[in-house]
Amino acid sequence: MPKRVSLFVTCMVDQLFPKVGLAMADVLERLGYTVDSPEDQTCCGQPAFNSGYRAEARTVARHFLKTFESAEAIVVPSGSCTSMVAHHYAELFHKEPETLARVHALEKRVFEFSTFLTEVAGVEDVGARLEEIVTFHDGCHALRELGIRSAPRRLLSRVRGLELREMTPAEECCGFGGTFSVKFAELSGAMARTKIEAIQRTGARTVVSLDPSCLMQIQGACSRAGLPIRTMHLAEVLASR
């Protein structure tokens, strides 16, 4: 079991939601890990990959490989960025055997935050407390590409004072989709509003997710609609006491 973990906070957390990264570090340190955050980290390259710019995505992916090659375990506050590294890098480098071997060596050491806690650290109760009724939003890549469903729910069930109310439908996309959110803005906005209706039906005032990008979409649409709903990353919930 690794004693040292490296954070890949993602470009979005770094530039827009730094508290999520700090919260993740807090939780991991409380569990006894030595946490570092490689200075040279930037982005996983997903925006270019999903927009059809494979060469640019490869360039950024190479930078990621170089930056994190020596890390024992890499913990990421995003299912989507984790999946980019763990699933799509192999596709990007399928014609470069040497890089592909490096990718395969690395992808086993990349963990989405909730998965790292439940599968690697083997904890469900991290000692958190939050008096709040929350609902949980499954990020599509966490759910369907990484198969993460129970880990965040088990972690939330151990937070003192917290009540989790599932929304119906629970598994429908929030409409973010990276550049989709701006290329098809009206459609993306309509999808967000449908998601918000499901959130409102639960009566919860707080939406929790593993993915900052979904939370930005949901919070942005709630804010526009003037709804008193706030969003929290799972790491922020687990760091609460």
């Binding site: 730094p18 700090l22 930037t42 390259g45 996309c173 989709f180 959110s181 009206e186 967000a192 804010s223």
Partner: protein, 474 residues
């Protein structure tokens, strides 16, 4: 992206009644599917999917072999296989046959393949009457519209819409009770069945080892179409092939459940050849033809990832579960095939230039791949097509600004100091915020992606310090 595509999406989103109709109808189909593939109802669902995928993979990889086997077996039963490269060859064959047999009236059962080649228009252009007999298709034929959905073609029409369409075209009083509407259509169509010279159907499966055409349906109109007229022509894409009759044990368990949430559709017909009068058969057509259509399908065969698009059994489950289809509906799509499967086969059959925006009209949520009964990795094919669109744009000198932006993105993301500085600069020019989210930006900033984002949502205020700055201070 074409202006037409954008406009259709906008119009559909702006129509509140249509939004409700699409969301409700797809929601019902989606929920029924979920109930009927649940572990307590169909415990071996995942094994069936894996098996269906393996059978389709094997068939598509050995398509030449099975096509020839199918042809031999159809001919052994007295039928005839007609090979057609494209729409023109199909209509030439049918028009030629109709002329020889002096046929005037054609009845049709539901077939996306004939929609794909605009068969009705070709036949009517030559003075033949071609009548759709599936209720939904019949409604749309009267309304001069294309199918809205692969399985439920008139999904977007309410019973009030149907009342108006029937009243206007059939000169009957406005009738809004669905059962009575069905009776009106039935009375008209029954006469057509009895008078028709030719019946044209599609095919759900072509069975190589028995030379049979398998058709599933709920209304019984396909049975009448294929047996009442003296001539039956089945028009099918070459990918409809399966090797053995016993493979239907896999596919029939998956098809109706995925499509409509039924364990089995009401009618499942196996048609193999014309009536054998000598063997004492009393029903069936005198002549039986299977038209095998390529129309772009063989172009998909060389690429391993792409050719899985040909596994599709047209169940429509990906449409019902797709959050994009459920908002933009079927008619926003640029061709007859809509939803996620339409988004991957349209660019491959028609070329990526047909509607370059199409593979991008997806949040890549993956719900389609999850429900696909033959496990087509639709998101992966979408990503491949996006890359192909960008390569084509680079060749043709389009989207220069975007290409430049992504080149800059890659450069910034590989130069951490530049990246950190760019972040600080962005934070410096952002308007002051009290922690609340940003609703407006000053005009010089409210451009491009930021403007598009702000058209629907507020923006998070950039924090005073980035994570990397806070971490260093920690």
């Amino acid at each position: 992206m074409s202006a037409e595509f954008q406009q259709k999406i906008h119009e559909t989103l702006a129509d509140a009644n249509l939004q409700l109709a699409i969301y409700t109808a797809t929601g019902r189909l989606k929920d029924k599917r979920v109930e009927n593939v649940a572990p307590d109802v169909l415990p071996d669902y995942q094994e069936l999917r894996a098996q269906a995928n393996a059978i389709k993979k094997h068939t598509i990889e050995n398509l030449d072999y099975y096509l020839e086997e199918f042809e031999r077996n159809v001919e052994a039963h007295g039928g005839k296989v007609v090979w057609c490269k494209d729409a023109g060859e199909v209509s030439d064959f049918i028009l030629g046959l109709a002329k020889e047999r002096r046929a005037r009236l054609i009845v049709k059962s539901k077939s996306m393949t004939t929609e794909e080649i605009d068969l009705n228009e070709s036949l009517e252009h030559q003075g033949l009457e071609s009548v759709e007999t599936d209720l939904g298709e019949y409604i749309l034929q009267l309304a001069h519209e294309r199918p809205y959905h692969i399985v439920a073609p008139a999904l977007h029409k309410t019973r009030y819409d149907v009342a108006g369409i029937f009243s206007k075209n059939l000169h009957v009083p406005e009738e809004t009770v669905p059962e009575k509407q069905t009776a009106i259509a039935r009375a008209v169509l029954r006469e057509k069945f009895l008078a028709a010279d030719i019946g044209i159907s599609g095919a759900n499966f072509l069975v190589a080892d028995s030379g049979a055409v398998c058709i599933v349906e709920n209304e019984g109109n396909a049975r009448l179409t294929t047996t009442a007229p003296k001539i039956h022509i089945a028009v099918a894409g070459i990918e409809k092939l399966i090797p053995r009759a016993q493979d239907l044990a896999t596919f029939l368990k998956l098809l109706a459940r995925s499509a409509t949430g039924q364990a089995l559709s009401v009618y499942t017909s196996f048609l193999s050849g014309p009536r054998r009068a000598g063997a004492g058969e009393i029903d069936g057509p005198d002549e039986f033809y299977v038209v095998l259509l390529d129309n772009g399908r063989t172009k998909l065969l060389p690429d391993r990832a792409r050719r899985q698009s040909l596994y599709c059994i047209r169940c429509g489950a990906c449409l019902n579960t797709c959050p994009v289809y459920r908002k933009i509906g079927g008619h926003s799509f640029p061709w007859v095939y809509s939803g996620p499967i339409g988004a991957i086969i349209t660019p491959q059959f028609m070329g990526v230039g047909h509607e370059p925006g199409l593979p991008f009209a997806s949040s890549l949520c993956g719900a389609c791949g999850e429900v696909c009964p033959v496990k087509i990795d639709i998101p992966k094919v979408l990503l491949d097509l996006r890359s192909e669109v960008k390569k084509a744009e680079a060749r043709e000198g389009h989207s220069r600004l975007e290409r430049l932006a992504f080149r800059a993105f890659a450069w910034v993301m590989t130069h951490p100091r530049v990246y950190a500085m760019a972040g600080r600069m962005a934070a410096a020019v952002a308007p002051a915020s009290d922690g609340g989210w940003i609703r407006h930006l000053p005009a010089p900033l409210a451009v491009g992606p930021l403007k598009a984002w702000l058209s629907q949502r507020d923006l998070p205020p950039p924090p005073a310090r980035s994570f990397r700055d806070l971490w260093r201070m920690r």
